[in-house]
């Protein structure tokens, strides 16, 4: 498991290796030895939620370790009003491009995917820079990038805006619903109802932000907070570190992802974001409005700001009746505890984004864990 593994093989996923399997088994035994009473750990990041399910880690954890989902699913926390804003733009005839993750998220009526079926021009991109080519191909049409994501993803949007500005691509604009992670964690950690024993922190947001923005969780909140990557050995190592700190009554910011996360983070990426974006208040599904938690385009890039170009004003949405995405996202309930789970809300007809997002907790539970009858869940 050292760094001398060839990247080619690593990228091709060596989960089949005996080393990984036996490490996970050892970590699982270690957890059982360390944890003597129930503890709750919040997996902040949706990619962690899905990895934990998909790799089968969830089935190897001791029952006393309760894993709770957090708000780290940028698709899930995009307020319905923001989605409706994007859909209204699409309805007006622009070319709207977004990452695939956004396509099935339901607004008040329909989604990007359903609009595309009706003939509106919604396109999937795998990189923000794809927008340059799309805009150049259709110079007489307005081309808009629906920019959703946290600090891992926002620097790419910043690079897009810089390039569009340098190359004077006037038919391109960005609808920025990027959000910042630390304010959401601050809101959660100050919630007296939320009883947590620790945080498993998002590995790739930390690549950009470094350790400092999360230190308050340990120093002020008094809870272990550990940054981890996404493969099974990373996740298990992160959980063991949290469990050990909890057992010893410690509360430190730790990291098992030192290979990728520098304590100071990626300052180049942060400078790029700062050049283009300014903080503003933003509405999070589940958490409501949070001050300084969103990224808006700076004045000098206002020409590329879709909100200004098209006079948009996202209105805070009301979730469908019975939808409990908000409570799932803040770790208050497990997906199966929502009355709509599996009945009024399924991947086929989702009520809220947690069911449809590739890394929403509800979708993950439904796909990987759902049982016929029975509501027991850990």
């Amino acid at each position: 498991m050292g760094g001398d593994q060839k990247v080619g093989r690593r990228a091709a996923r060596t989960w089949g290796s005996n080393k990984m399997t036996s490490f996970v088994a050892e970590a699982s035994r270690a957890l059982r030895r360390i944890i003597s009473s129930p503890i709750s750990v919040m997996e902040v990041c949706g990619t962690h939620t899905v990895s934990i399910f998909r790799s089968g880690i969830r089935s190897l954890l001791p029952p006393e370790l309760r894993l709770v989902s957090g708000p780290g699913c940028p698709v899930c926390v995009t307020d319905q009003g923001e989605i409706d804003c994007a859909l209204s733009l699409l309805d007006s005839g622009v070319v709207l491009a977004a990452y695939g993750d956004m396509f099935r998220v339901p607004g008040k009526s329909g989604s990007l995917a359903s609009r595309r079926e009706m003939g509106f021009d919604a396109r999937v991109v795998t990189s923000a820079l794809d927008l340059i080519e799309i805009a150049l191909e259709s110079p007489s049409r307005e081309v808009v990038f629906l920019a959703v994501g946290f600090e891992t993803t926002a620097p790419a949007t910043a690079a897009l805006l810089l390039e569009a500005s340098q190359r004077r691509i006037h038919n391109l604009s960005v609808l920025s619903f990027h959000k910042c992670t630390p304010p959401a964690l601050a809101a959660l950690s100050s919630d007296p109802e939320l009883k947590l024993s620790g945080f498993l922190l998002p590995g790739h947001v930390s690549v950009i932000l470094g350790h400092e923005p999360f230190r308050f969780l340990a120093d002020d909140g008094g809870l272990p907070a550990v940054i981890a990557g996404f493969d099974p050995e990373q996740i298990m190592a992160g959980l063991v570190e949290i469990a050990l700190q909890h057992q010893r009554g410690e509360a430190r910011l730790g990291s098992v992802y030192g290979r990728a996360v520098r304590p100071g983070g990626n300052d180049k990426a942060r400078s790029l974001m700062d050049r283009v974006f300014v903080r503003r208040d933003s509405c999070w599904r589940g958490l409501g409005p949070l001050a300084d938690s969103g990224m808006a385009l700076r004045e000098e890039y206002s020409e590329f700001d879709a909100e200004r170009r098209f006079s948009l004003a996202p209105v805070r949405g009301t979730p469908p009746h019975g939808c409990k995405c908000g409570e799932v996202l803040t770790g208050r309930i497990f997906p199966p505890e929502c009355a709509l789970f599996g009945t009024g809300c399924t991947p086929a007809s989702p009520a809220g984004p947690c069911m449809v997002s590739a890394e929403g907790a509800c979708g993950a539970f439904f796909r990987f864990y759902r049982r016929n009858g029975g509501s027991r869940c850990v």
Partner: protein, 329 residues
């Protein structure tokens, strides 16, 4: 309700479309639902299959070759020989005849390699923009070479699940092309499997087979679970997956279980015959990597598929929903 791309992608929506909308149009008694071809009175099987693949030429094949392979495999998994094929073409105005000839020659070559006779055809031309270039539709007939029918309802607790080769190559090849990723030597697995499957028909304990097309291996196994009410249990480490497919899935955020195949089948058989089935399959170069990947159990949850993961954990494998979308989260 409107038909969406998801209804064509082989998962839950496709299943719903077929069952709810088209079910009433098929006379009951011709064959069980959700099999790849229908068993007709008189000892024949019949299939209808449409091909709209884009790009029309892809690493490993083209739309003409794919049309024949798809139909041949649909017949083969029910135990029918590739005897006759009819091809219907829907052609966009302005489409070059040279390109059309290319595809028809390709289809004819594949047919003749199998002794399959091109018996009928039809062409329609539609205005520019009404279709993307050309769409192929194949209708194939073949004589059944097995007395007892192969169907999902034969499946019993204890049966072995065997896949004929590495999964997801066709879907991966198409996705690589669509998203501008260069994957050296990644080709579609598009191939006619009749020569590889014919020897299996003599195995008494063979229960049924399915062609793993859109929706991949995962969709077929979920359909078997739902059709039989039994539990299917898989071993992730046993499922053959080409490293190139794995890398592509990592990069785009896809699950190889749901990537389309066009030359890969799943078979269920009596456990005592599993070794024989594997030996017969791997005698063909097209199925050299055939593998035992799991079994049918009386476990829970009923009607669903579970998998022991690489790291020794357990998780469910659900029916895929909608078209596969690349993700960054």
């Amino acid at each position: 309700m409107r038909i969406g791309l998801g209804h064509g992608s082989g998962g839950r929506q496709s299943q719903e479309l077929v069952q709810a909308l088209l079910g009433p149009f098929y006379e009951r008694g011709i064959g069980p639902e959700l099999e790849d071809s229908a068993l007709l009175p008189g000892g024949y099987a019949m299939t209808v299959d449409g091909f709209t693949v884009s790009p029309r030429v892809f690493p490993g094949g083209d739309i003409g070759h794919l049309c024949v392979c798809g139909c041949v495999n649909d017949l083969a998994v029910r135990g029918a020989a590739p005897d006759f094929l009819g091809i219907g073409l829907i052609i966009e105005e302005g489409f070059p005849t040279e390109e059309l000839s290319l595809y028809m020659e390709s289809a004819a070559r594949t047919c003749s390699s199998l002794g399959m006779r091109l018996a009928a055809g039809d062409t329609k031309v539609v205005p520019s923009g009404a279709v993307d270039g050309v769409y192929f539709s194949g209708t194939a007939f073949g004589k059944l070479r097995r007395d007892t029918p192969l169907q999902a309802t034969n499946i019993r607790v204890g049966d072995s699940l065997i896949v004929s080769g590495p999964i997801g190559r066709h879907g991966a090849a198409i996705a690589a092309s669509r998203f501008n990723l260069s994957v050296s030597d990644l080709e579609s697995d598009c191939a006619p499997l009749w020569p590889a499957l014919e020897p299996l028909l003599a195995v008494d304990g063979l229960r049924c087979m399915r062609d793993c097309t859109r929706g991949g291996l995962g969709a077929v196994l979920c359909e078997w679970g739902e059709a039989t009410g039994k539990h299917l249990s898989l071993e992730e480490a046993s499922i053959p997956i080409d490293d190139r497919v794995r890398s592509l899935c990592d990069v785009l955020g896809f699950d190889p279980l749901y990537m389309a195949c066009e030359g890969c089948i799943i078979a269920a058989c009596e456990p005592s015959e599993a070794t024989t089935v594997l030996q017969l399959l791997s005698a063909s170069p097209l199925c050299a990597e055939a593998a035992l990947i799991g079994e049918v159990t009386d476990g829970e949850p009923e009607g669903m598929v579970s998998m022991r993961t690489y790291i020794g954990g357990e998780r469910l494998v659900d029916m895929p929903f909608g078209e596969l979308l690349p993700r960054i989260c």
